[in-house]
Amino acid sequence: MKISASEVAHVAALARLRLSDEMSAKLTEQLNDILTAMDKLAELDTSGVPSTNHALELSGAMRPDQTGESLDHERALANAPDSDGQSFIVPKVI
């Protein structure tokens, strides 16, 4: 087993997902299949090989610190599930 049912539950909690028992069982099986296929990478010796995180060698893009176009409150909050016109409103945190 690459990943156990309890690890699946732990990862679901990290990812903020609530899984049904049926879904957890199915995912455990599918993730095991997929992770087993990933084992192929272990065949390769990659010691000393740098990582590619980006396909193009672009370094940080700089621009002058100037105010540009931005969304006003009305447009920024237009899709909000709940707001008071100034802020997003969320359920109680504590």
Binding site: V11, R16, L17, L56, L58, N79, A80, P91
Partner: protein, 486 residues
């Protein structure tokens, strides 16, 4: 020829000569949508009324001598692209009612060029899939054979262009999502070099791989669309700060003297015999026109799939953390429940099974104790894949081969086996990992009448070479002139 059968280039020409108005063309396309949508199901949202207003405005702009390069041409767009004031779902229930307050950079470019927006195309949820069967709303059908998938994730887009319900379109490609559906629907699909087109306003899947590009009926159409949408955008720090050529100028260069690499790793067990024969015949035609075919090796090809299915889900799990029920999209709030319940309920109800699978996979690959073995290792092997291409491009100008291992499969055939579904991208993934441009062009049909594409891959920013090769092949063949019977 009916108006909906026109290529983009033909439509632009007729509009310029005044032989057709944008209003007539747009009305014809709206009728075509009405006729084909019951079978093809390519669109998620239709904007017919607004399109007619835009068409009238385009006709007025032309009369005033202010016609842009796409003035008055009606088209739909993949629903991953933000359109100001027009619902953008990305194929997900979590964004079912999301109306963006701004246009994606490339949508702005298309509008400035005069495009008339017909609506938004169906896709796999968050662009994760190869068939549109992962859409939160509907499965699109292949216009050539309604029992077949159109490919994915830009499946609605490719199906719409093939069906004539959009005169051209723009899709996105993270691991093959432009080229694979283009191949399956018998149209042209180009994934440009990473950074060639701004990702601003493109709903993010895997940010180091995502790239938008044209899906069209001809190579010339693709060159015209890329000329409009390419370019540097200060709002996307990964967009390339380099000038945009007039890509249509590269079309007639021909292939005489070009060296075309044939990677032996693309012609292996599992490649459908009809696909192999069709692709080899296409390569022979290019040789016949003066190109030299050279065998090359991309030794790490077989590792692209595991690398991709670590990196893409890892980036996706991070990008999709934004769907939390706070700022936009679905928000499930129960009486007396707290913030954590809102997160859990919103995400579990809003995401479909494939998105949940990939978020889980990505979160696992990035989690403490597994990072080095998965994400770290995948990044290193990505370097080896990139070096394979660099070595090959020291010897050849472009690489040619199949787009997909098989013609389009049947709807429902692979839904229960995610690994099998992932294998349909085996020849397209590595170009995304290396950031290279790749194009699929129509190269023939299987005995069952399903389209087969030829893939052309170039070095970074060598789109002009792809257009030259694609145009040379298209001029010598007539696959691109066939239309599905709908």
């Amino acid at each position: 020829m009916e108006l909906h059968e026109l290529s983009l280039t033909q439509a632009v020409d007729l509009l310029a000569k005044g032989e057709v108005s944008s209003l007539e063309l747009t009305q014809a396309l709206i009728k075509r949508i009405k006729d084909t949508e019951p079978q093809v199901k390519a669109y998620l949202t239709l904007t017919g009324e607004a399109a007619l207003d835009q068409a009238k405005a385009a006709d007025q702009a032309r009369a005033a001598g202010q016609a842009g390069p796409l003035c008055g041409v009606p088209a739909g767009l993949k629903d991953v692209l933000c359109t100001a004031g027009v619902r953008t779902t990305c194929g997900s229930k979590i964004l079912e009612n999301f109306v963006p307050p701004f246009d994606a950079f490339l949508v702005k470019k298309l509008k400035e060029a005069g495009m008339v927006l017909l609506g938004k195309h169906n896709m796999d949820e968050f662009a994760m899939g190869s068939s549109t069967e992962n859409s939160g709303f509907q499965t699109s059908h292949n216009p050539w054979d309604l029992a077949a998938i159109p490919g994915g994730s830009s499946g609605g887009t490719a199906a719409s262009v093939a069906a004539g319900s959009s005169l051209f379109s723009v899709g996105t490609d993270t691991g093959g999502s432009i080229r694979q559906p283009a191949s399956h629907c018998g149209v042209v699909g180009l994934k440009p070099t990473y950074g060639r087109v701004s990702r601003f306003g493109l709903v993010a899947f895997a940010s180091s791989l995502d790239q938008a590009g044209p899906i069209t009926r001809t190579v010339a159409d693709a060159a015209l669309v890329l000329s409009v949408i390419a370019g540097h955008d200060p709002a996307d720090s990964t967009s390339a700060p380099r000038p945009v050529p007039d890509y249509t100028a590269s079309l007639e260069r021909g292939v005489k003297g070009l060296k075309l690499g044939v990677p032996k790793e693309f012609f292996v067990q599992g490649l459908d015999p009809e696909v192999e024969a069709t692709v080899k015949a296409a390569m022979a035609e290019l040789e016949n026109q003066g190109a030299e075919l050279v065998e090359v090796s991309l030794p790490h090809t077989e590792y692209a799939l595991p690398v991709y299915y670590i990196i893409a889900p890892a980036e996706a799990s991070s990008n999709l953390a934004r769907y939390d029920g706070v700022k936009y999209g679905l928000s499930v709030r129960s009486e007396g429940a707290g913030l954590m319940d809102m997160y859990l309920d919103t995400r579990s109800r809003g995401f479909g099974p494939e998105v949940i699978r990939r978020v889980m996979l990505g979160t696992y690959a990035l989690s403490a104790g597994y990072y080095d073995a998965y994400y770290g290792k995948a990044g290193q092997v990505r370097t080896l894949i990139r070096r394979d291409f660099e070595a090959a491009f020291e010897k050849v100008d472009a690489i040619v081969g199949p787009v997909t291992p098989t013609p389009a499969f049947d709807i429902g055939q692979k839904v229960d086996d995610p690994l099998q579904m992932y294998l349909s991208d085996v020849f397209t993934l590595s170009t995304n990992l290396a950031g290279l441009p790749g194009m699929s062009i129509p190269a023939g049909f299987s005995s069952a009448g399903r389209p087969i594409g030829l893939q052309i891959i170039g070095p970074h920013f060598a789109e002009e070479t792809l257009f030259a090769v694609g145009q040379a092949y298209e001029q010598a063949t007539d696959h691109h002139l066939r239309r599905p019977l709908l």
